[in-house]
C-alpha cells in the first residue's frame, strides 16, 4: 500500500503545481492564456445563445446549457470561486475525498443559487433598478469575506485548543485505565476529521480506544467528524453567498429579454461546470496532501506529533488573513463601471 493510486495522483498533482513555478513557466502561461481566451469566446457566445433562445427551439436551449456548462468550467479555472479558501482548508486540515468534493461542489452550486435569488428577488420588486443589484453584489462579497475570516479565527482557535489538549493527560474518564491508554488518546486527538489510518502510521487502539470505548461520551472520531461538518458547512456558506458575477450578468440579461427561466437554467449549468472544476482541483489537493503526508513518514516523531496541529494552525491563519485582506481590498475598490 506504499505507492497506491492516491499517491501517484498526488505526485502528478504536485508535479503540476511545481511546474507552474519553475523554468517551464511558459507552459503554465500558455495554459492560462488558453483558458482566458476560451472563457472570452464562451462569454460572447453566451449572449448570442441567450438571444437565440428567444426565437425558441429545443436546440437553442440545449446549446445554451452546453455553452453555460463549459463557461462554468473555464470560468472557475481563473481566480476566485473560493478556491483559495477551499484549497487551504484541504491542505491544512485532513479531509476525505468525499467531503472535499462535497465542499467544492456545494459551494459552487450555492453561488449559483445566490445569484438567482439575488436577481430574481431584486427584479421582482417594483422599480428597483440595476443599481440595486450592482450595489448588492459588493455587500454580499463583503459578507462572504467576513465569514471566511471568521472561519479562519475559529480554525486557529481550535488548533490552539488541540495543541493545549495534547499536553494535558485525560483525567476524568481514564481513571480506570493504564497510563499507556491515555498516551494513545492524546495522540489520536491530533488526527482530526476522520483520519484515514491507511497511511501506515502506527496507532495504538485506532480512533476509538478499544479498551475504554464505552466510558467516553463521544469518541474522538465522532467529535472530529461533527466539528468537521460544521466547518464544511461554514465554508460552503461563506463561499456560496458570493454570487458568481458572470451568473448575475447572464441573469440580468435574460430578464431584459423576458427569458428569466432560460437564465436560471443557464446559471445552473454554469454552476455545475464550476463545481466540476473546483472539485477537480480539490481532489488534486487531497491527493497532493496525502502524498505529502506519505513523504513525512519515517521522520522524527516530533513532526508527526505536531505536524497536523501546526498545519491546522497555519491553515487557519492563512484563511483568516485571506478573508481579512479580501475584505480590505473590497472596501477600497469598487469598480467604476459596475
Amino acid at each position: 500500500m506504499l505507492l497506491n493510486r492516491g499517491r501517484i495522483y498526488g505526485l502528478i498533482g504536485g508535479g503540476f503545481l511545481l511546474s507552474s513555478t519553475s523554468a517551464h513557466a511558459s507552459l503554465w502561461g500558455d495554459v492560462s492564456q488558453y483558458i482566458r481566451t476560451q472563457q472570452q469566446d464562451l462569454h460572447m457566445a453566451l449572449s448570442t445563445a441567450l438571444q437565440a433562445v428567444q426565437d425558441g427551439g429545443f436546440e437553442a436551449v440545449f446549446s445554451l446549457l452546453l455553452l453555460s456548462f463549459f463557461y462554468g468550467v473555464f470560468h472557475a479555472a481563473g481566480p476566485g470561486h473560493g478556491k483559495a479558501v477551499i484549497g487551504t482548508y484541504i491542505l491544512s486540515h485532513n479531509s476525505h475525498i468525499k467531503r472535499s468534493i462535497l465542499l467544492s461542489g456545494a459551494s459552487a452550486l450555492v453561488q449559483g443559487l445566490t445569484a438567482i435569488i439575488l436577481v430574481k428577488a431584486l427584479s421582482g420588486v417594483v422599480f428597483i433598478s440595476q443599481w440595486a443589484i450592482k450595489d448588492a453584489v459588493p455587500v454580499m462579497e463583503q459578507a462572504s469575506f467576513l465569514l471566511v475570516a471568521l472561519i479562519g479565527v475559529f480554525l486557529v482557535y481550535r488548533a490552539i485548543k488541540q495543541f493545549i489538549g495534547m499536553h494535558q493527560p485525560e483525567k476524568i474518564d481514564l481513571s480506570d485505565h493504564q497510563g499507556s491508554v491515555s498516551h494513545e488518546h492524546s495522540h489520536s486527538h491530533n488526527y482530526d476529521h476522520g483520519h484515514d489510518h491507511g497511511h501506515g502510521h502506527s496507532h495504538g487502539g485506532g480512533e476509538t480506544c478499544s479498551s475504554c470505548g464505552h466510558n467516553h461520551a463521544i469518541s474522538p472520531k465522532q467529535a472530529a467528524a461533527a466539528s468537521g461538518w460544521r466547518e464544511t458547512i461554514g465554508i460552503i456558506i461563506s463561499v456560496g453567498i458570493r454570487p458568481c458575477t458572470g451568473s448575475v450578468i447572464v441573469l440580468t440579461f435574460a430578464e431584459l429579454f423576458d427569458l428569466g427561466w432560460a437564465g436560471i437554467l443557464s446559471v445552473f449549468a454554469i454552476s455545475i461546470g464550476t463545481a466540476i472544476t473546483v472539485s477537480l482541483l480539490a481532489l488534486m489537493t487531497v491527493y497532493f496532501r496525502s502524498f505529502a503526508v506519505y513523504l513525512m513518514q519515517g521522520r522524527e516523531s516530533m513532526t508527526l506529533r505536531y505536524g497536523p496541529v501546526a498545519a491546522s494552525f497555519i491553515g487557519g491563519l492563512i484563511i483568516l488573513a485571506l478573508g481579512f485582506s479580501l475584505m480590505m481590498d473590497a472596501m477600497n475598490n469598487s469598480h467604476p463601471l459596475f
Binding site: L18, D30, S47, T88, F127, I249, F253
Partner: protein, 206 residues
C-alpha cells in the same frame, strides 16, 4: 509549491478576470498648432454588459426605453471613471500626461450594444513625438481592446499627414509570470493586473 498555489489565487479574488468587454476605437486629436490636444474614445460594450447596465430601465407602454436613462448612465459612468483617469494613460517622451474632466460625450445603443463616445482633453497639449497611450481597466475586470487595428487622426489634416502609429499587443504570459515571482514588490499606483493585458499604442509625427 504550496506557495504558488496561493499565488495563483491572489490576483484580487473574483475581480481579476474579465466579466465584460469593450471594443475600442481611438482617434488622436490635433489642434491648430499641430500639437496633440486629446483623444477621442469610442467604447462599445458587449451585449451582456449592456443588458446588465440596462436592467431596471423603465419602458413606456410600447416597450420603448426611456432615452434619458442611458444619458444619465453615461454621465454617472464618466464621473466614476474620472478618478481612474478614464482608464487611459498617456506618456509623452516617457512623461505621464494629465487629462481634464470629460464634458463632451455621446451615447446610444446599436444592435443591442451600448456605446459611449467621449473626448478626453489633455491638460496640456503635447508635441506629437514619442507618444504612447494605453486604454485598459487596471483591475482587468473589463477587457478593452481595439476593435480594428486602426487609429484615427483628426483636427489638423496637414499635421496628420506625417504621423505614423503602431499598436503593440499585450504579452501577458512573460510579464504575468515574472510578476507572480516578484510578489513582494508593491504595485505601482493604481495599476493592477490589467496593465499586463493592455495594448500599447505608439504615435510619432515628423
Amino acid at each position: 509549491m504550496i506557495f504558488t498555489f496561493f499565488v495563483m489565487q491572489f490576483p484580487k479574488a473574483s475581480q481579476a478576470h474579465p466579466h465584460a468587454w469593450i471594443d475600442l476605437e481611438t482617434t488622436v486629436i490635433f489642434n491648430e498648432d499641430s500639437q496633440v490636444s486629446g483623444l477621442k474614445l469610442r467604447w462599445t460594450f458587449d451585449a451582456l454588459y449592456t443588458g446588465f447596465a440596462l436592467s431596471g430601465v423603465s419602458r413606456d407602454s410600447e416597450g420603448r426605453m426611456d432615452k434619458t436613462f442611458i444619458q444619465e448612465l453615461a454621465k454617472e459612468n464618466l464621473s466614476n471613471l474620472e478618478e481612474y483617469s478614464y482608464f487611459t494613460s498617456m506618456d509623452v517622451a516617457g512623461k505621464r500626461q494629465r487629462f481634464d474632466t470629460v464634458t463632451e460625450f455621446l451615447t446610444d445603443i446599436d444592435e443591442g450594444r451600448l456605446w459611449l463616445d467621449f473626448t478626453l482633453p489633455l491638460r496640456e497639449p503635447a508635441e506629437p513625438k514619442d507618444i504612447t497611450y494605453s486604454v485598459y481597466d487596471p483591475s482587468y475586470y473589463i477587457e478593452i481592446l481595439h476593435k480594428d487595428p486602426l487609429i484615427g487622426f483628426a483636427g489638423n489634416p496637414s499635421a496628420e499627414e506625417n504621423c505614423s502609429y503602431s499598436i503593440l499587443n499585450p504579452e501577458p504570459t512573460e510579464e504575468l509570470i515574472s510578476r507572480m515571482a516578484d510578489l513582494d514588490k508593491t504595485e505601482t499606483a493604481g495599476d493592477g493586473i490589467g496593465q499586463f493585458f493592455a495594448e500599447k499604442v505608439s504615435v510619432t509625427c515628423y
